[in-house]
Every structure is written in C-alpha cells, then in structure tokens.
C-alpha cells in the first residue's frame, strides 16, 4: 500500500494515469507547463517496452500518435496553447479518421506566447472549435491530482470507446503543483481496451461501419485487414467519397456518436446542490478556490452549492440545467473571459441568473477574489 502513495506534480499524475490506462506510445515536443508529462514518460515507457519519441514539433507529434494508434497502441501527446494551436489540423484528421488518441493541453496564459509560466483557462473553446469544419470532441478536466489520474484514465477509455481524440484540459497550477496521489491497484479503475474486429482474414472488414451498439471495431495496421484511412470524407471501407449522402451521414455520425452519448461521457462533482441558492460552477484549478469558498460559506450557514465540470465537451447541458433549476444565482468561476459561462448561459433557463467570476492576469483566482465578486453579484458592493 505505502508504495502506492506518491507526492507528485499534476503532470506526473497525468503520466501515471496514462501508464495505468496502458499507454503504449507517447510522442511530444516540450513546452511549458506540460513538459514534465513527456519527461516522466521518457523515463518510464522504455522500461515497460513502450515507446517514447520527441518529435521535431507539435504537428508531427500529433501525426505520430495517430500513426502509433493505428498499429494498435493507446497513444497520447501533451502540450500547451501554442503547441495545441499547431496540432489543430492533425487533430481534425484524427476526428475524421476516427483514431483513438489523447491530447493533453496544460493551459497557460494566452493568447500567443502570452504568459507561459502562469496559469490560464483560455483554451476551452479552442478545444471545441480549434480545428476547421464541423465536428464534435470530448474534453475533460480535473482539479486535483487524484482526479487528474482518473480523468486521464477516463480520457483513454472515452478515446477507445468512441474511436475519437479526447482532449484533457488541465492548467499550469494543476500541472506544476505537487500533492498526494494514491495510485489505484490495477483493476480498481475500469480500463477500456482497444476494441478489435472479430472479422477473419479474407472476410470483408468495414473499418467505418458502426456496429449495432455504435462502436467501430478496429484492425491493427500489419494485421489481417488492409483498409484505407483518410482525412477525406470516406465510405465504410475508408475510401474517399464526395457523394453527398456519404458526406452527410459521415458528418452526422461523427457528431452523433459523441453528442448522443453525453451522458456516458459526462463526469462531474457536486456538493450541497439540493438547497443551494447560489451555485458555483467551475473546473480545473479554479474549482479548488470555488470549492474552498463554498465550504467556507456553508460552514457559516450560507446556501452555496458546488458543481465541478470534469467533462466540458460535449457540454452536459441537461445535467447543468437540472442541477441549476432552482438556484437564484449561478456563478461560473473560471480564468478566462467567460467561455464556460457562455455555455452555461445557453444551457440553463433564465440565463440572466448566470454570472462570471474570473481572473485573467495569470494568477490563480483565490477564494478572496471569489468572495469579492460574490458580494458585487449579490448587490453588496465590495
């Protein structure tokens, strides 16, 4: 047991989660504040027969993990804003070609080179919309190292289940901070393995024809089935087509496989929501301060509630709507100009109840900041 308790950075917790989930291949390019993920895996993967490569840039890192996924591996890359921007084209390829992979973005202050060693949460909408063309995407987050670990495992699970890239959106505070992590025993967390086709050699295999249950079994490159993978619209064998019916149904499939499974994908944490008059919604490191505030006020009898989004995309609109149904005020705590706030507004009834409590100067929003903003929202001034 003792050995399973470690005191690590969030980035290390993420690497540990990836190892737990069975990562076979990591390709990346260093960038603050995500680099430690690569550094840990550079040491650990070769010892387990896995593979680590430092590529020439983020574009090639993203491409390489797609290649590595096709040979049957669970794969991941990690980066931060500038690198994430560079990955967008290849990320779209993974969406289109339905390649399971995990992309970690440890957010720092943006835009551009921005504020590299400081925290930010400004890439939430980019995770959703950064690549061109309509599509859907899964994006997860976490506010402490146990969750970082679990959400990393969940990310791999979702990637394999839905044959899709999954984005993990941490931030500088979570990535660099050290705290306790208990590494679960093997088997105690569910791990979804690559679903491989049972179609035999010589029998027609359809890499892009969903099964009854919506899943698409894969066949490893080098294995029995020689099929085609492309970023063009394609038919059920993977061959290019611009036939309008093919195009329409593929795009609908790509969106629906995620949007209709929002329930399965969604992860959140809640506290004191039953009778909450003010609900703080948050994610990532900001959620720590939000929870702090809520605990603090509750201990003084004030009816605050806490809702932490551990999955942001697909946005769990109906969950949020229900949880917030009877709150007087909903305050979204985030370190950007209101990206999740907008999503919450679109989700709930009477969006005029929704307020933004934010900080955008590179410092972690503190319980004091939130307190002051709450006072203003409640009409009490500062």
């Amino acid at each position: 047991m003792e050995e399973n308790v470690v005191f690590v950075q969030g980035n290390e917790a993420c690497a540990e989660g990836a190892l737990y989930a069975g990562i076979g291949f990591f390709a990346g390019y260093p960038i603050t504040p995500s680099t430690e993920i690569a550094e840990v895996l550079a040491g650990r993967l070769p010892r387990r027969g896995g593979r680590f490569i430092q590529m020439e840039d983020e574009i090639s890192s993203m491409c390489a993990i797609v290649g590595g996924s096709l040979t049957g591996n669970k794969v991941m890359t990690a980066t931060s804003g500038p690198g994430f921007s560079l990955m967008q084209e290849a990320l779209g390829f993974a969406v289109m070609a339905e390649i399971p992979c995990v992309i970690v973005n440890v957010q720092r202050g943006g835009p551009s080179t921005g504020n590299p060693t400081h925290v930010g949460q400004g890439d939430v909408n980019q995770a959703r919309w950064g690549t061109h063309g309509d599509h859907s995407i899964i994006t997860l987050s976490a506010s402490n190292h146990q969750d970082v670990f679990e959400m990393t495992v969940h990310a791999f699970n979702m990637a394999e289940t839905y044959r899709t890239p999954v984005i993990l959106l941490f931030d500088e505070v979570i990535g660099h901070m050290r705290e306790k992590l208990i590494i679960p025993e093997p088997g105690s967390l569910p791990v979804v393995d690559r679903l491989r086709t049972s179609v035999k050699r010589g029998v027609d295999y359809h890499p892009y024809l969903p099964r009854e249950d919506g899943r698409l079994p894969m066949s490893d490159f080098g294995g029995d089935h020689r099929y085609n993978v492309t970023g063009l619209y394609h038919d059920m064998w993977g061959f290019p087509s611009s036939n309008p019916q093919v195009v329409e149904s593929l795009l609908n499939h790509l969106m629906d496989k995620i949007e209709t499974n929002v329930h399965d994908i969604t992860r959140y944490k809640e506290k004191y929501l039953e009778d909450a008059e003010i609900i703080l919604i948050s994610f990532g490191s900001a959620a720590r301060s939000a929870l702090h505030t809520v605990e603090n006020r509750r201990s003084r009898g004030e009816k605050l509630g806490y809702l932490e989004l551990q999955s942001i995309w697909p946005f769990p609109s109906s969950m949020v709507r229900e949880k917030c149904a009877s709150a007087k005020r909903i305050v979204v705590v985030e370190m950007n100009k209101g990206q999740v706030t907008d999503a919450v507004k679109a989700a709930v009834e009477n969006p005029e109840r929704v307020f933004l409590a934010n900080r955008i100067d590179g410092e972690l929003i503190s319980p004091t900041n939130i307190k002051n903003i709450l006072r203003i929202i409640q009409g009490k001034g500062v």
Partner: protein, 181 residues
C-alpha cells in the same frame, strides 16, 4: 494541528524548491498529513528569484498558494526584500546570516542563522545548504519529524551523498533547537 503556510525563497541554484518538495513530501508520505507544494517560474521554466509555496495541514487543502505565509524562509537579500512584507504578523522568518541583512521592521519572529557558513565550515559543500535550512526549520517548528525528512532524503539522494545530507540536516536542527520558543 496548526496549518503551516510556508514560503521558501532564494535564488536559482540554492535548492529552495528541492527543500520545499522534501518537506512537503515528508509530511505526506511519512506523517500522514496533507500538503501541497508549488513554485513560481520566471520566463518559461527558469528565472532569477525562486519562490516555493508549501501548505501543510491535517485537513484538505484547496487553494494551494500562500498569500500570507506564517513561515517564511529567505536565503537571499533579494528574496528577503521582496517577500518579508507579506509575512503573517507573528509568523516566523528564517534567514541566512551571510546572504540576508534584515533591514526592515517585520512583525514576526526573525531568526537569522549562519547556516551557509556553518555548512561550509563543517561539511565544506554548499550543495547541502538547503538541507541545513530544512533542519533549522524542523528545529524551530513542529512540522515534521527529522526521520521523515531523512527517509525522503534516502529515497531521493544518491547513496553516497545521503550521509552528508543527514549531517547537514542535523546541523540545522542543532543550530535551531536552542532558539525554539
């Protein structure tokens, strides 16, 4: 227990962050406490003045940053000048004799020890200056036990250096214990 909100500060090569990690790790792994440790960076991953925040408590720690430390360690003048104003009234300010000349009036218990000098005299290697500082802190406060830190040292430090580190730790403890309030 008391909640320790600590800031360790100094310059690049002094091992301030390592010390912070060891302290916090010792608390978590060997004392069953809760701790978080974080640090500020300069441009990208490097920079001049180093600061590490550590919070140690027996209750969950959410906000991981320290705004008003009740324990402040300053190993350079620059760090002292920058951070001494934020110490919590009544807190403890530990500084090194050689590097820091206390200039301002601070509403805190100021302890200036000749840690660097003693390390150089007794051990002769500046690399364990930070460990001596840890010892001094342990000597001054009931945060973690010496054995806990030693266990961490044994895990993290190449074997041939373990003894030297232990020596430095003991040095620090012995310098501080007399001053314990």
């Amino acid at each position: 227990m008391e909640k320790f909100r600590m800031v360790f500060s100094g310059s690049g090569g002094q091992g301030v962050i390592t010390a912070a990690i060891m302290m916090a790790e010792a608390a978590v792994i060997h004392e069953g406490l809760i701790a978080v440790q974080s640090q500020s960076y300069g441009a990208e991953a490097r920079g001049g003045a180093t600061r590490s925040d550590i919070i140690i408590s027996d209750k969950p720690i959410l906000f991981p940053k320290v705004t008003q430390p009740n324990v402040l360690v300053c190993l350079t003048q620059e760090a002292y000048d920058k951070f001494s104003p934020i110490i919590r009234p009544g807190g403890l300010l530990l500084a090194d004799d050689r590097y820091v000349m206390p200039r301002k009036k601070v509403d805190a218990k100021q302890v200036n020890l000749p840690m660097y000098q003693t390390v150089m005299e007794k051990i002769g290697n500046p690399i364990v200056f930070n460990i001596c500082m840890l010892g001094a802190l342990i000597g001054l406060l009931n945060i973690v036990r010496t054995e806990s830190v030693l266990a961490i040292i044994a895990k993290r430090v190449p074997e041939k250096y373990v003894e030297m580190n232990q020596q430095a730790l003991d040095l620090g403890v012995s310098m501080a214990v007399p001053l314990r309030s």
